[in-house]
Symmetry: C2
Subunit: 180 residues, 2 copies
């Protein structure tokens, strides 16, 4: 059974939308993905560093569209691990685990990895929105499209724009229905 390492922020949890919300609460202006084109999140959202340390920032993120349904399918066909950079923000650790428990209850504690640098991770497939995680990875790599990476060449990674695309590529139709 193949192993998949799935990132949280920007892949399951909508961190961009959360930055937009926190920024709008401060400025009254709701920025959009078009505004970020070519910018890092920290450049577009000048208070990003403060927001990331605010209690509740990680706990109350929106779930990225279709991720629950498709990840549940993948979880039947692969060894799924949720691999999240979290130790930089220690307060995020329990928030992230609580968030997963609420939105992805089929993911057990055995499948959760909170780390810093992802070079220590081995798996067959990695789904992530950051090149720093995908580039050193040995297996198959999917770049989950997000405003902060939209202007960059995906290189050897396969860019996907949605969980439906991941479903089409990774879920085997032969077995897809047999588990239902």
């Amino acid at each position: 059974m193949k192993t998949i390492a799935v990132d949280m922020d920007g892949v399951l949890a909508d961190v961009f939308e959360q930055f937009v919300r926190y920024d709008a609460a401060r400025t009254g202006i709701r920025k959009s993905a078009k505004d970020v084109f070519g910018l890092g999140e920290v450049e577009l959202f000048p208070h990003a560093d403060t927001d990331l340390l605010t209690p509740g920032f990680f706990r109350n993120m929106s779930v990225i569209k279709d991720s629950q349904e498709v990840l549940e399918q993948l979880n039947r066909q692969y060894q799924v691990f949720i691999v999240s950079s979290a130790t930089q923000f220690p307060q995020s650790l329990t928030e992230k685990q609580d968030w997963l428990k609420e939105h992805f209850p089929f993911i057990g504690w055995q499948q959760i990895v909170f780390c810093g640098k992802k070079t220590i991770i081995q798996a067959d497939v990695m789904i992530d929105d950051h090149f720093k995680n995908l580039d050193p990875f040995q297996g198959e790599t999917f770049l989950f499209s997000q405003p902060h990476n939209a202007h960059l060449d995906a290189g050897r990674h396969i860019r996907v724009y949605s969980w439906r695309e991941l479903e089409a590529t990774l879920v085997s139709n032969d077995t897809k229905w047999s588990f239902r």
Copy 2:
């Protein structure tokens, strides 16, 4: 530079001593390593499951002898990652990170991994007190001797009884002093 994955509980943090303390506070009797011979910790300490969920249990563990000094040496010669099974006890996450910050301040957040199953970890060397983590690991494996594993055949793993033994095996004397 080679990568080393170092376990926390039973390798850096003295979880056995912590079980003894919590048990003694309850019963008035201080058990010793001799009592545990051939028993799992949960068999010897009937309240282990409750203790593991008690706030402070992980935060207030003693540091295993010589681990600070030797790990600091290893940290100059290897890419060190602290890899700890922690997601089973979500309250342990911040306690463990705070504990590391206090006792191993030279370990950065980039080097910390809190996970469930360690099969997702790739490294050249693993130091751990549990066969379930060492057995599936592809690299060089050191079994850190603890009361719960003392009666078992180490098999292909190298049993070590102390951090001084790890120092003798893993720290290169050529460079050991040049960094000081």
